[in-house]
Amino acid sequence: MRTKLPFVGPSYEARSLNANAQRTLNCYVELDNTSQRAPIALYGTPGTMRRLTFPTSPVRAGFKEGAYTWWVAGNVVYRVDADYQVLALGEIATYTGEVGLASNGGQVLLIDGANGWLIDVNASTLAAITDPEFPHGVTRAAYQDSFFLVTGDGTGKFYINETPNDGSKWNGLDFASAEGSPDNTIAIISDHREVWLFGELTTEVWSNTGNADFPFMRSGNVFLEHGCAAAGTVAKADNTVFWLGADDKGAGIVWRADGYTPQRISTHAIERAIGAYARIDDAFAFTYQQEGHIFYVLTFPAAGATWCYDAATQLWHERAWRDPDNGQLTRWRPSCHVYANGEHLVGDFETGDVYALDLDACTDAGAPILRQRRTAAGEALQQRMFFSSLQVDMETGVGLDDGQGAAPLLMLRYSSDGGHTWSPERVATVGAAGQYGARAKFNRLGSGRNRVWEISMTDPVKFAVFGAVVDGEAGSA
């Protein structure tokens, strides 16, 4: 009997693989209820195209202001124009670690946990902040209403510059503390002209009251009983704020704000994965929007893992870079994101490379991308099912003219025990260029009770999967 398999879905590896062993790697789900054939489809995540390489590394931060993008790579600050011509502006004191950036339009404030610098956007110059009252040690920066706001020096305070729109003047008395709870403030972000102050256990939202002495104060009784597990994970997108949470009950839930109410967006499977990491305080995130999908990209450097939440579908998938030398999967390479020149530019966490994310690119700067989809375990009242064939419904005829990808192959393996052990790998062609009628079909697929299917592809071709049909019948044993 031929049946359609529920083949497309998110990553969800449950505590018991028998319950759910789903994995979606380097591809994301798109929903389209106007399509009868593919109401839920799986598309490959963007490949990367190298746009430039800084002589110093790693790429620590990037920012768009005026006609240029501004980057920190290693200990050097660069200006990059629309033609990707690079101008080195000067050096900062640190070579690695996250860098906080914020702009007031004319100045870009740059902080690295030790000192502060200002980029004059019009003059394209870099100067250290020499005001002795600048709060050295801050790591996070935001801008709102002509003020730079900085925090993260371990004191629990946040500071603002003394003179509006001038990041060079600071007054040691221009600070405040989120005192609704004694936890340390570690991150700050401005969203919809409100300042979100993330503590280790709680969060407060402040707004600008116009008070001449210190313009910011807490917005009414807005106080969230969830804090932040990693300062770098606070990011805004989709008209709200996202972060990796922590509070006095535990840590490792990913939240998005629904108004002032935290809404849990991580699943038990994601939380289980995060809970298994030795470190999560080093996590960082950035957001970007491509073809209507708003992605919150959350990377755990020590664990070598990257998770991605799509606000359009509310589903998670994994992203990973495959080392071409040894085939090992590790964290996705981007460390920061800037949208400029109509491109999504990302910096490499290890090298001085800046890439453009391109949905039509099918390699990571020339290295093959492993795309993988593993289904949940099928179930037929625990009867043994006999499978004579599986046809993956996908776009075929996508081969390249020559080289790798000229005869693209889809790999299949399956598990009959819910994902614990796997069959040998099988391959099927997905059609050379123009062979649109090619079928990715596998025959003689044995039997099992809790069948999990896994397809993967490394050829540098378009990846679009709509589902699968299986020929099978239930046995009586």
Partner: protein, 110 residues
């Protein structure tokens, strides 16, 4: 020549229990080997086999596998096709006749 283990794997593949390239689990393999031995005993009793169970000649491999599906089918929840047993016996008969005719015949002198 085919061994019992090889025939058992072939039997499991014929039943659809195993897919291409798969190896049987120990339990499934043991059941299938039991059935191959049973087929061999039956064929021997009918005078159709004069070889050890672990040295099944090439022409008997497919008949053994077919007949094995009749015995092993119920253990794996597969429907039984009794016609497969008859078909296997016929193939064996035809095979043994062909095998005899193709052998050199030595003259015997008394």
């Amino acid at each position: 020549m085919a061994t019992t283990t090889e025939l058992a794997e072939r039997l499991l593949r014929k039943l659809g229990v195993l897919g291409g390239g798969e190896a049987p689990s120990a339990d499934d393999g043991a059941v299938a080997e039991e059935k191959i031995v049973a087929v061999h005993e039956a064929v021997t009793a009918l005078g159709r086999a004069n070889w050890p169970v672990d040295e099944v000649p090439p022409y008997a491999i497919e008949p053994y596998t077919l007949m094995g599906t009749v015995l092993a089918g119920p253990d794996f929840g597969r429907p039984v096709d009794t016609g497969a047993w008859v078909m296997g016996l016929r193939m064996l008969a035809a095979g043994s006749a062909a095998a005899v005719s193709k052998c050199p015949i030595h003259a015997e002198y008394f």
